[in-house]
């Protein structure tokens, strides 16, 4: 479903080049849950950003459905991010001036077309699925950290995306809340959603179908 081939990426700051990815390859099957672990600076978040098209690689290819997405036009990339790919960040990044429901509806608000009742119903379904039924009218500031992260996950689900990229989704949550978020991801995987999750927590990583270990910008292990 998603395949990364020999991805390289180097960041340059003040004339100093720092290689972040040095030829990383990975394949993610449909409905597969892959977790990526590694120390800070190992390149796992950079790799996730490349896979989710948020960062263009210096070299290599990312194939989705057999097509090289690194060669997509900006318009096609926008469509891909809007329809097929979904990203959940460590910090939920909800817009504070929109309610939980409106945050979930954001992927439907990319143009001048008005959000219809069908989309609203879909948002309510997603909120219910993440355990936030009845809280759609609340502003993010009035929700707990775990609830905010659930809203972010509901936002990722609202367009029936094919792959969910999660960057440390439990990194900013306490153990209990993190556990509930992981249960939710496991449920989503069971329903057929492909998930690529970056985490530094071994116990959460082991719940995935595969654990990819990264070190110094390379895949150190895949099991």
């Amino acid at each position: 479903m998603l395949e990364a081939k020999d991805i390289t990426k180097t960041f340059t700051s003040e004339g100093v080049a720092t290689p972040a990815l040095r030829g990383v390859s990975l394949t993610v099957g449909a409905g597969e849950f892959v977790s990526i672990v590694g120390r800070s600076g190992s390149g796992k978040t950079t790799f996730l950003n490349v896979l989710s098209t948020l960062l263009a690689p210096d070299g290599g290819e990312v194939l989705y459905g057999g097509e090289n997405v690194t060669a997509f036009s900006p318009e096609r990339l926008n469509r891909l991010r809007n329809r097929d790919f979904a990203v959940v960040f460590q910090f939920h990044y909800l817009l504070p001036y929109l309610t939980a429901r409106e945050n979930v509806l954001l992927p439907f608000m990319t143009g001048l077309g008005r959000v219809g009742s069908r989309e609203r119903a879909r948002a309510e379904d997603c909120l219910e699925r993440v355990g936030l039924a009845g809280k759609g009218g609340k502003l993010p500031g009035h929700l707990s950290g775990g609830e905010q992260q659930r809203v972010a996950i509901a936002r990722a689900l609202v367009k029936d995306s094919k792959i969910l990229f999660a960057d440390e989704p439990t990194g900013n949550l306490d153990k209990t809340t993190g556990e509930s978020v992981m249960s939710l991801l496991t449920d989503l995987k069971r329903d057929g959603l492909s998930i690529v999750m970056v985490t530094h927590d071994e116990s959460y990583a082991r719940r995935a179908d595969r654990v990819v270990r990264m070190a110094d910008g390379l895949v150190a292990g895949d099991a």
Binding site: L55, L95, T110
Partner: protein, 387 residues
């Protein structure tokens, strides 16, 4: 809900910043609109006042000048084929042109020669009530004549004839009384005696005739050439001369005020634009995470660009509407303070409102162009790295 919900909610959430920006922009619009109205009224008023410093169009009978000499004896310049100007007819024609509303004063004059005692002197018949407007710079001992046989003596003429205020003398066989003696002006006015036009026409047997007509036209709304052309059409047997130097000097004064106000307005507008630009730029920097998130959700560059431009346009529109009304009422107050409210012609106009709003919206969007472009250019990855 659609993409425009985002800027609308942002503005509501950041109401303090929005209010400040709106206030600054509105005050700028108020200043510009009020300056515009006031400058226009001051310009009109100034031009009307400048009319007191002379006419700018001269209407004379058409004639052919011939220099005659024979056998070494010169007869001097002779005027041939000169037609008389009839006061009532000329006035009626002048006041029938398309630009008649721009005609401020029509001052007919009859020039003759007379002897007072043994001294020859020029006599100019005038309509004193019009000369008062046209010769606002005159100062005198005594006053303008109230009676038909009252005259004003130029300073040199009065000295030559030994006349002073209250003296009676014989003018072309009719008794005349000096009601005023002009202070020296440095012009031809010093050497002549001004009498009432009707008195002069009767005394010199020139009923209803005039030698020439001075016209003071207001040229703020139209070029002097257009007024002259219309006068030529209405008065085919006359020569119409525009006194360009007077017109230019007068319009220079009027335009100086208008240009000064325009410059001040542009400076205010530029400062307001800088404020909008700086605020939008800081807003982009503050909302870089939001931009990154929206781009990761599939929002296009043009969509992000539109979000920021829409914010600026909304503030510009609100500032344009409020600023226009505020500016208009401020200009009324200022004109009132200047004592010009009575004669002011300023009026609110839907076209002016639309023009102001369109201009301010355009300028605010232009000011927000760079910040919006910067926002649209941010790659999701850049925003994410900055997180």
């Amino acid at each position: 809900m659609n993409i425009l919900t985002i800027p609308l909610r942002t503005m509501r959430k950041k109401w303090l910043k929005t209010s400040l920006l709106f206030t600054v922009f509105t005050l700028s619009v108020v200043a510009i609109v009020s300056l515009n109205y006031v400058s226009r009224e001051v310009g009109h008023s100034l031009e009307k006042k400048l009319t007191a410093f002379g006419a700018n169009i001269l209407v004379t009978p058409r004639s052919e000048k011939l220099t005659v000499s024979y056998g070494g004896f010169s007869l001097g310049d002779m005027l041939m084929g000169m037609t008389d100007l009839r006061e009532a007819d000329v006035e009626e024609r002048i006041l029938s042109i398309g630009y008649r509303d721009r005609i401020s004063v029509v001052a007919p004059k009859l020039v003759s020669m007379a002897r007072v005692g043994d001294v020859a002197v020029g006599v100019v018949g005038v309509r004193f009530e019009r000369e008062k407007v046209l010769k606002g710079y005159w100062s005198m001992q005594g006053d303008f004549p109230a009676a038909e046989n009252g005259v004003l003596a130029g300073s040199k003429a009065a000295a030559r004839l030994g006349l002073k205020v209250g003296d009676g003398f014989d003018l072309a066989g009719r008794p005349a009384v000096v009601s005023g003696v002009l202070d020296p002006t440095g012009s031809d006015d010093d050497s002549v005696i001004f009498a009432d036009l009707g008195f002069a026409q009767a005394a010199f047997g020139q009923e209803d005739k005039v030698s020439f007509v001075e016209v003071a036209a207001l040229c703020a709304g139209c070029p002097i050439e257009d007024i002259v052309r219309q006068l030529e059409e209405k008065l085919p047997d006359t020569e119409i001369q525009a006194m360009q130097s007077i017109v230019k000097q007068r319009m220079y004064s009027v335009h100086f005020v208008e240009h000064l106000i325009l410059t001040v307005s542009l400076v205010i507008l530029f400062i307001a634009c800088c404020m909008v630009g700086a605020t939008m730029l800081s807003s982009v920097n503050e909302r870089i995470r939001e931009i990154g998130l929206l781009r990761s959700l599939g929002f296009s560059r043009s969509g992000i660009f539109g979000v920021f431009c829409f914010e600026a346009a909304l503030i510009g529109l609100a500032a344009g509407v409020v600023g226009y009304f505020g500016g208009f009422f401020l200009s009324v107050k200022v004109l009132d303070l200047l004592g010009m409210a009575q004669e002011a012609e300023a009026a609110m106009h839907a076209g002016h409102l639309l023009l102001t709003c369109a201009l301010i919206v355009g300028v605010s969007v232009l000011a927000a162009f760079f910040p919006s472009w910067k926002a649209a250019s941010i790659e999701p990855s850049t925003a994410l790295i900055s997180l």
